[in-house]
């Protein structure tokens, strides 16, 4: 990895992609002009975000798949109204959230009311010593997330999959107040960092 350790958080495993928004904007205009490959790339890029929106809304995997299919098919009919990355992300998240609520209201195959997703951090099996250290860091973070309010958990979970410049519009699309994240840190992330800094497990270093 490049760069020094980044503050109090666990090691950053993933290269950041600050140009993601610009890339999406170019893909949107190409898709509007009928470029199927560009549309396909947008699907690949943003489906993981919409998956988290649907799952955070409490849908089963099957229902979440249906919601994603519906959302993308609807997007095609609305492409002409969408001109930049923020509008795209906002439209997709809003539509996914609405569809998810509609499916839930239809009462199909609903998950138990308080599904404890956070109980199940997947075990990736025995690994190298580095892997063990990484696993410890992940567990500390996971437990800290588990101590946040459900609303904060859902917000951070979804935001983590959003293009960086679009955090604020995604938060707004999720019905969170302005300033809940982006450009300022917002309450949820501040709380998480405080938990990580003072948690019983100490600093994950």
């Amino acid at each position: 990895m490049d760069g020094p350790g980044s503050g109090p958080g666990p090691v950053t495993v993933r290269a950041s992609r600050p140009d993601r928004g610009m890339r999406l904007a170019r893909l949107v205009s190409a898709a509007r002009e009928g470029n199927d490959d560009a549309l396909g790339q947008i699907v690949t890029e943003l489906s993981p975000l919409l998956w988290q929106v649907a799952r955070a809304a409490g849908l089963s995997s099957g229902d979440a798949e249906d919601v994603l299919q519906t959302v993308w098919m609807r997007l095609v009919a609305h492409l002409n109204e969408i001109h930049d990355s923020a509008a795209l992300t906002s439209w997709l998240v809003t539509t996914a959230k609405r569809e998810a609520w509609r499916v839930r209201a239809a009462g199909r195959r609903q998950l138990p009311a308080d599904q404890e997703l956070l109980a199940e951090l997947p075990d990736e099996g025995p690994g190298s010593e580095d892997q063990v250290i990484l696993d410890d860091q992940r567990r500390v973070l996971w437990e800290a997330i588990g101590r946040l309010s459900r609303r904060c958990q859902d917000l951070l979970r979804v935001i983590a999959f959003a293009p960086r410049p679009d955090y604020a519009v995604v938060a707004a699309a999720l019905g969170m107040p302005i300033g809940s994240i982006g450009p300022t840190r917002g309450r949820c992330l501040a709380k998480l960092r405080a938990l990580l800094a003072s948690g019983p497990q100490g600093s994950p270093r």
């Binding site: 998956w51 239809a106 501040a190």
Partner: protein
């Protein structure tokens, strides 16, 4: 310079910094592991978007039920799926054939004659519904499939717009 580290309380009002972005990347990693999107989902979505040039109505999944196991026919469970669009309700029942293919029986409401296409990853099957809105695909290969309900004839009056369902797995 903000002190948002080493015991200092990071404030909610500060701009996002690199530690925040790193944390969000880590959160993404956790949820990718804990609740992964099916890896083939984007591919299936791309499949169903291939129709984008048509002027279509998109039907939404309205209900899905697993039927009782029909032991006598040696079949697996049948599935009944209902799709709603503005103009049309499409209900299909999917049964397993002994040869590994699927049988799909469908009904359109309101009842009407339409041309019905079943797009699969291999090729497309075409049938027509009768006056009662009934149609059947006796043998459909297992895998990704999508229904397209087209106007019966491109005559005066048009017969309505095409309706497509989301892609489903047979």
């Amino acid at each position: 310079m903000m002190v948002s580290d080493a015991g200092g309380r990071p404030s909610a009002d500060e701009p996002l910094d690199d530690a925040d972005f790193g944390l969000l990347d880590d959160i993404r990693g956790l949820f990718e592991a804990a609740d992964p999107m099916p890896a083939d989902l984007p591919e299936r979505i791309r499949f169903s978007l291939a129709l984008r040039d048509l002027e279509v109505e998109v039907a939404r999944l309205a209900a899905e039920e697993d039927g009782p196991v029909v032991a006598a026919r040696g079949a697996e469970q049948s599935r009944t799926i209902t799709f709603d669009s503005e103009s049309l309700t499409i209900m299909i029942r999917i049964d397993a054939n002994r040869d590994g293919t699927a049988r799909v029986d469908g009904w359109l409401a309101p009842p009407q004659r339409r041309e019905i296409e079943m797009k699969t990853s291999a090729d497309s099957l075409n049938v027509a519904s009768d006056d009662q809105g009934r149609f059947a695909f006796p043998r459909v290969p297992r895998g990704t499939a999508q229904l397209v309900v087209r106007p019966a004839e491109a005559g005066p009056g048009g017969g309505g717009r095409s309706v497509v369902t989301p892609a489903l797995i047979l």
